[in-house]
Symmetry: none
Subunit: 221 residues, 4 copies
Amino acid sequence: MNAALPAADAADPPARQRRKEARPQELLDAALALFVEKGFAATRSEEVAQRAGVSKGTLYLYFPSKEELFKAVVRQTLASLIAEGVELAEQFEGSSSELLATLMQTWWERFGSTPAAGIHKVVLAEVRNFPELAQFYNDEVIVPADRLFSGCIQRGIDRGEFRPLPLHEAAHALMSPMIFMALCQFSLGACPIHGAVDMDPASMLRTHLDLVLRGLEVRSA
Amino acid sequence: MNAALPAADAADPPARQRRKEARPQELLDAALALFVEKGFAATRSEEVAQRAGVSKGTLYLYFPSKEELFKAVVRQTLASLIAEGVELAEQFEGSSSELLATLMQTWWERFGSTPAAGIHKVVLAEVRNFPELAQFYNDEVIVPADRLFSGCIQRGIDRGEFRPLPLHEAAHALMSPMIFMALCQFSLGACPIHGAVDMDPASMLRTHLDLVLRGLEVRSA
Amino acid sequence: MNAALPAADAADPPARQRRKEARPQELLDAALALFVEKGFAATRSEEVAQRAGVSKGTLYLYFPSKEELFKAVVRQTLASLIAEGVELAEQFEGSSSELLATLMQTWWERFGSTPAAGIHKVVLAEVRNFPELAQFYNDEVIVPADRLFSGCIQRGIDRGEFRPLPLHEAAHALMSPMIFMALCQFSLGACPIHGAVDMDPASMLRTHLDLVLRGLEVRSA
Amino acid sequence: MNAALPAADAADPPARQRRKEARPQELLDAALALFVEKGFAATRSEEVAQRAGVSKGTLYLYFPSKEELFKAVVRQTLASLIAEGVELAEQFEGSSSELLATLMQTWWERFGSTPAAGIHKVVLAEVRNFPELAQFYNDEVIVPADRLFSGCIQRGIDRGEFRPLPLHEAAHALMSPMIFMALCQFSLGACPIHGAVDMDPASMLRTHLDLVLRGLEVRSA
DNA sequence: CATGAATGAGACTTCATTCAT
DNA sequence: TATGAATGAAGTCTCATTCAT
């Protein structure tokens, strides 16, 4: 219609089609939010559809069942979660303490503080009802995360920065406060409560690092 | 009825009656186990009854609804959870590091490693659907636990054993690995998985304490 | 309450229980009637329940799904359908023509003219959607019926009453008009029609026998 | 578009248009096949469209609803079914037995053994849900068929070839085995079965005629 | 004309809860 | 008190039909 914008006309798909391509992601986003808020069972599939701005039936054009929708949400939210951290660790040049601090801060900024982090709460609650997810979560999240942090600790030990410590255990101790904080955000943290313990993630993270890095480092004379 | 057995009647309640008095607890136990395993929504009330060895109808003689049963499970499992720790802390005479180590080991032995610890997973997953529980959990668990650990850290600082650190944050860092480990036990840890990261609670706890106490303590010359 | 009727009190199950025992059959009867009237797919499971005087949910206490209900209807309606005929044939002493006439008349009276005969229409229409039924129907209905009629014809041939003819084909020719008449009863025959061809089963059966027996019999000089 | 092919354009409609004109029939054929295979309710309208090589929406350009499609399939498959037989009978010059034999063999060849015969199964199963079809089927199929066969029998009686017998009843007896065989083809006959009774249509028809014509004919001395 | 994404009424099925026994 | 048969609201999913492109 407008000869001045032929490129745009040619490049953009028609509105309907653009919708179609965006739908799966819109549905996944809606589902993620609701699953995190209410859990799998308490989320009605029609709610998901409504939140994504479509009707009940449309949801089923893209996902064959509520269960499959759930698994898709988990898979796509978790996929490529760790990759960034691994890359960061490989290229890092500073001290191992700085590396760990950077890793944790980055994780929190990019993921821990976003809605996607809520998926961990849901997985924690539902794995036993979805055995396929157990292996997936282990392979895609637990093992890579353990490897990433264990690797950093090992690096510190090798470079004489850290005391020798059991790797897995130390990695768990390092990660737990952050993950637990993420979990709490979408749980108690989302409820209106009188007299809640005040907890700022940034200050929490700072203190945790302060504590634990000092615990890791060899005591300089 | 039978005059030949008056002593038994007087000393013990008859089996039927003993049963009756034990019912509520049996139902709570059954419900706890199932809620931890499958979550609130996925647990059918008939299952709870069956596992407690009674019929569906009987459950409703003791609890007016599945929701009330759930709340009762949470309340009674969590009640007096912290009291023991508080008492222990008050009477403790050793160093603050030893106090913290004792607290954590005791918590793990008495609670973390028992089925009752699973309730935390359920609460984490379901609070947002049960607003009453949020306040209860905060008041009965979060706040007391924070107070207990913050108190110990304060004690350490006051006694010149620990560096001054933000109390709440440090308390969170101390508790997280233990709680998170408890959560995992009833989640991924209960699923059959190939290549799971091997994690022994005792060694985990030891390493965590090693790390974090060294982080707390003032550097002796 | 009434000491004069203790026997009755003891013998009869309480009303509730009597109901429970009768339910499956009541549901099967209701289902048979509706499946015959409207077909499998067009019958709503709630209708079946209503017609049996119970609620939707009750149906599912006795049958796990509409499909299983359907199969149960088919199985129980067809079971032991042929047995009576086989017995009759074995004990029969008269001429083979009389035997065939008796068989057909008996079949019509006992089965063909009852609601149960409608099941054949439903099976005819639905077997291709329920492969399990195909084998069942073949084994329990087709093969025994063929064997029964083929046997009678063979008996006639052996006794010199009937001409030698291909057994299966002749059996089919003998049975078809009766079965087809039964089918039609529950199909067109149940619809209000102007100018329907008038067809009395008794006279139809008489004519068919007249025709076909004369065709079977050896021409006496 | 291409001036080099004007002749083709003029003589035949272009492919697109030829397609358009053929659409209704292609849809009817697809629908017939599916309705026969799965019944009315179990056939999805999208399947019909797919099988006809068009999209779901296109089906609705030609038929306003699935019900109307069904009725159209029935009407057009049955229309002019009997005409051929009537004409054949009117022009026939041989004996009445030969006429009947010819009629039946012709019916079987031209119709009974073709996919279109399956429509009888569907009508049998669905008339009660489609009252309009009842009258149509009666008027266009039942009555003409009865008239045709009754007429042939009457002809035989008039010519002294057949015994006097009730016309409608005899006509039913004559037609049933053939029709029933056609029904079975699209029912059990289309299912994979172990130990099915072997039944060749040709030999079946031969035996039936052998039986029934002998039954009809006056006994020559 | 043709498409196929979208709709939403409606069917099947589950399960918390009730209540006659 | 205990039972378990019965209920029916509510949720999942299907599919005939519509309509923007």
